[in-house]
């Protein structure tokens, strides 16, 4: 299976995402924002960072870059797409997911190992989890406050489009403690925390077993691989 990782000007975590893809057992394919070519990939990751310097709004310019017309078409045709942090912001700006992300309510950048509850384990990127499972992956953002109008919030809550919720603390003022969303079809998932930073023992969050041993993020990538194998 080939999973593409798009690099935009200002992407930071594209290499980490590629490494996570390889650790999960798939081939990582570097995609470039200025191309109109998805190079035959089976799934796409929009990585974290500060694409286009966060100018205009976080993710706004990247959402209108050349590769995104292909990503949007592929997503609408059912291809799995995962947006991490800035990638989540890009998905929202591209209208593949509802709502918006604004500056953290407390005004500060936050970086912590964040506990999350899996709310939807039926998406392309979460099928290896169980509903209610608690996982820990790193979170690092200044503009991660999820907002949406009341009517849409009611709809996405009612239709199971909340994929992840923050546990212990709400780190950025997100409505309903929402950390991540899925689209109605379940192929497009976006979240502020970084699963690619919790895929390798020695480099992940601390766990009760050992320091930096957390690899809960790996399940995002193995989920999409197993999903592809099941369909093959």
């Amino acid at each position: 299976m080939k999973i593409g990782v798009v690099t935009f000007p200002g992407s930071l975590d594209d290499r980490d995402a590629q490494r996570a893809v390889r650790r999960a057992g798939a081939e990582a394919v570097a995609l470039w924002h200025g191309d109109h070519d998805l190079h035959g990939v089976d799934a796409i990751v929009l990585p974290g960072g500060f694409s286009y310097g966060d100018y205009l709004r976080c993710g706004a310019i990247a959402a209108r870059s050349p590769i995104m017309s292909e990503v949007i078409s592929a997503a609408n045709a059912g291809m799995p797409v995962l947006g991490i942090c800035n990638g989540f912001q890009i998905l929202v700006e591209a209208h593949l997911l509802p709502g918006g992300l604004i500056r953290n309510d407390h005004g500060d950048f936050v970086c912590r190992d964040q506990r999350l509850r899996v709310e939807n384990a039926s998406t392309a990127w979460t099928s290896g989890f169980t509903v209610g499972q608690e996982i820990t992956i790193p979170l690092k953002n200044a503009e991660g406050g999820f907002i949406v109008d009341a009517e849409t919030l009611k709809r996405i809550e009612g239709e199971g489009q909340v994929a992840f919720r923050y546990l212990d603390v709400n780190p950025n003022g997100s409505l309903d403690d929402i950390a991540g969303l899925t689209n109605a079809a379940g192929n497009v998932v976006g979240l502020m925390p970084h699963p690619e930073h919790a895929t390798e023992p020695g480099f992940g969050p601390d766990t009760p077993d050992a320091m930096r041993s957390g690899t809960d993020g790996l399940t995002f990538f193995t989920s999409v691989i197993e999903g592809a194998l099941a369909r093959a």
């Binding site: 205009l56 709004r57 706004a60 209108r64 929202v92 700006e93 509802p98 709502g99 918006g100 604004i102 500056r103 953290n104 309510d105 407390h106 005004g107 406050g145 907002i147 949406v148 109008d149 003022g173």
Partner: protein, 88 residues
């Protein structure tokens, strides 16, 4: 060259942490007559050629679709900058 101005503000009901930080600084400076600050954006679009109704409509469209995000912001005003050129 004629210039069209687009003004965008965060939605009134949303917290504006940047504005709040500035308001905090004003308070610390003793400027107590100012109770709140909200920070928005002003875009200046330089137009190559005359500003027709169609160009203004295009700017309005751009303001709604790209320069603002209707989930978090409102387009306050789109107008031709006086003295910077005249409508055709």
């Amino acid at each position: 060259m004629p210039t069209i101005v687009v003004e965008v503000m965060p939605k009134a009901e949303l917290l504006d942490p940047a504005g709040k930080a500035v308001a905090g600084a004003l308070s610390r400076l003793g400027k107590t007559e100012f109770s709140a600050v909200r920070i928005g954006k002003r875009f200046e679009l330089t137009v190559d050629g005359p500003v027709t109704e169609a160009v203004l409509a295009e700017a309005q469209q751009l303001a709604d679709d790209m320069l603002s995000n209707s989930v978090i912001e409102d387009v306050v005003r789109v107008y031709l900058l006086e003295g910077a050129g005249s409508a055709a």
